[in-house]
């Protein structure tokens, strides 16, 4: 053993290995065990302790949790080179069925997603939204029925995950490189979702909101024509959500965006078309406005200075009045038709002698309609 050529390589390797493990332990968070315990394990079990630490205990460095920059002021993405706007729907399913035992799953879903615009997919938990998106993305096979698509489809999961040791730029470049050329560039995609400042940071340290933005950047950069976004705003703060909705609306001008969400106000804000799933069945599909018109009763808010009680008693007796509710500053009146509200109601107010300050139609909201649809179906 006196010959250094014998022992020097072993000692040097062991020392270098232990030193490397300790440097890594100091620089990074530890997984499974606290750092002091790993420090003891590395030293007590050379080299097995260090090998265990490197494989199992070495965490990804956390970046400072800076708030992500807002998406760029003009969220309109760079135009993607595309052929002429196809007249066919971007995605169409026929009698799509996927059952997971019993009645759970999808039942004969005939989905038709227009070639441009935002399609909002809504439904209660367990309605089959994620299953439907998975089948559209090719991640699940239907039991029966067919899926037809004229365009390239990309899915962004609700909680996207990435290789934590890649930077944001590398992540977007990776997925962009896997798809056909012609998508929004890597830098541009990161700009659009407000991650320009974090482009060189490893994504292992990203917050959930930043990860969600990165998921959208990945989908943008791939050049897909149909973007399937599963709950894309679920992890964002109110400002981030608003920015993201603007971006989704802008994307709808160039792409076909299918957007599932529990937040119906978001869907109402950006979607042109809506599909309502309940118990795996598509119970409505069509323009949002048409849904609101068809399933909401005309309603009017009357702001009165006086005479509210008298007017309420008078309206209660009329057959074209569905309901009258008292409010702090007047009444809310549901009528059988828009015509009745616009023509007969003003005449009754005048005849009752009530002092009218304001007379406004109550805007229908998707949440009310959705609840009505789901409840009526049950």
């Amino acid at each position: 053993m006196r010959n250094p050529a014998v022992w020097l390589p072993v000692v040097a390797l062991l020392l270098a290995f232990v030193a490397f493990c300790y440097v890594e332990l100091l620089r990074r968070p530890a997984k499974l065990l606290p750092k002091p315990v790993w420090a003891v394990v590395i030293l007590a079990q050379i080299p097995l302790g260090g090998i265990c630490y490197l494989i199992l205990g070495r965490g990804e460095r956390q970046a400072e949790d800076e708030p992500a920059a807002a998406p760029t002021a003009s969220p309109r993405p760079a135009p993607v080179p595309t052929a002429a706007v196809p007249a066919l729907p971007a995605v169409r399913t026929r009698a799509l069925t996927k059952l997971f035992g019993g009645d759970v799953g999808l039942h004969g879903v005939d989905l038709m997603v227009p070639a441009r615009g935002v399609y909002g997919l809504v439904g209660p938990n367990g309605a089959g939204k994620t299953t439907l998106l998975s089948i559209l993305a090719g991640l699940r096979r239907p039991d029966s029925g067919s899926v037809g698509s004229t365009s390239r489809v990309m899915l962004c999961p609700d909680t996207p995950a990435f290789e934590p040791w890649l930077t944001a730029t590398e992540t977007v470049a990776l997925f962009a490189g896997l798809g056909p050329r012609g998508g929004t560039g890597t830098g541009r995609a990161l700009d659009l979702v407000g991650l320009a400042a974090a482009r060189d940071r490893r994504v292992g340290g990203f917050s959930r909101g930043m990860t969600q933005r990165l998921g959208l950047a990945v989908v943008l950069a791939t050049g897909a024509d149909v973007l399937l976004l599963d709950e894309p705003t679920s992890a964002l703060d109110p400002q981030g959500r608003s920015d993201m909705l603007d971006l989704i609306a802008a994307l709808g001008r160039e792409h076909s965006v299918v957007f599932s969400s529990h937040i119906l106000a978001d869907v109402q804000r950006v979607a042109d078309t809506v599909g309502v799933l309940r118990d795996g069945r598509l119970i409505y599909q069509g323009p949002v406005d048409e849904l609101l018109d068809r399933h909401t009763r005309p309603s009017w808010r009357l702001h009165l200075r006086s005479g509210a009680d008298q007017l309420a008693r008078r309206l209660d007796r009329l057959d074209w009045v569905a309901s009258v509710r008292r409010q702090e500053q007047g009444l809310v009146v549901d009528t059988a038709s828009v015509h009745a509200g616009e023509t007969l109601l003003p005449a009754e107010i005048s005849a009752s002698g009530a002092e009218l300050v304001a007379f406004n139609p109550v805007g229908a909201d998707l949440e009310t309609v959705f609840l009505n649809l789901v409840e009526v179906g049950r």
Partner: protein, 251 residues
């Protein structure tokens, strides 16, 4: 950024390459030393009492055989863990969804993972073999060159076999822990138990695993050729079955 580069970065940035190289290098450098000084170590352990241990003078072939013996356990264990972590793609469904919707086919996604891990494991095994030959030459004398080269190549192919088995298991199961546990069971339990099948003992993967040690003492035989062919066939079968299975994946 290609998938090949991502797989290289997976090894480099996660530090897994260091774990892989460290195991094989330390075994390669340490086993000949342990073999050379085994007598002194035992005498030191027994003290000057009534027990007298006589250890025969170690030969160069003993240094290499000790290395080949130890990498079949510790080296295999680390290789399975590193391969299992890389191959258990579906353990992280959101990430798997992104990959699977972006790649043209699943072979394009899995082949870089498989080959990168296989090449890294084989290279680490060969590196350890070179280190073992270096230390053996210094301490015990030069080992037989032909048997050493053949042993290093066979042991490297053995690590590729372990990687292929882990790949197949990963395509059948979802979780990382389950993949690693079942792959270890397959390598450490199923492979030796296959010897119970008549005719497998001399030409099966277990015989192939012991081949590098045996080559230090006896020449290459016809059965060795057959066991190599069998292992090559099993590697091809595991990869083909794994790729087929991955084409049926659902998330």
């Amino acid at each position: 950024m290609s998938l090949w580069r991502v797989e290289r970065l997976r090894l480099l940035r996660t530090g897994r390459w260091i774990a892989l190289a460290a195991v094989f290098l330390l075994l390669g450098l340490g086993e000949p030393i342990a073999t050379r000084y085994l007598g002194e170590l035992l005498r030191g352990a027994t003290g000057s009492g009534y027990i007298h241990i006589t250890v025969t003078r170690p030969q160069p072939s003993d240094g290499m055989a000790a290395y080949f013996d130890n990498i079949t356990t510790l080296g295999t264990l680390v290789t399975v863990v590193i391969a299992g972590l890389a191959f258990a793609l579906r353990a992280n469904p959101p990430l798997a969804a992104l990959y699977l919707t972006h790649v043209p086919n699943r072979v394009a996604l899995l082949l870089p993972r498989l080959l990168t891990v296989a090449v890294a494991a084989a290279a680490a095994s060969a590196l350890g073999g070179v280190a073992a030959a270096y230390e053996t030459t210094l301490l015990l004398g030069a080992p037989p060159a032909g048997a050493t080269v053949a042993g290093v190549l066979v042991s490297s192919l053995g690590t590729v076999f372990v990687v292929a088995v882990t790949f197949l298991v990963a395509t059948l199961l979802r979780g990382q822990v389950a993949t690693i546990a079942v792959a270890l069971g397959a390598v450490f339990v199923a492979v030796p138990f296959a010897n119970l099948v008549p005719g497998v003992r001399d030409v099966g993967p277990d015989a192939f695993t012991a081949l590098p040690q045996r080559l230090q003492l006896s020449p290459w035989t016809g059965d060795d050729t057959w066991s190599t062919v069998v292992v090559l066939g099993l590697i091809a079968a595991c990869v083909a079955a794994g790729l087929y299975r991955s084409s049926r994946w659902e998330l």
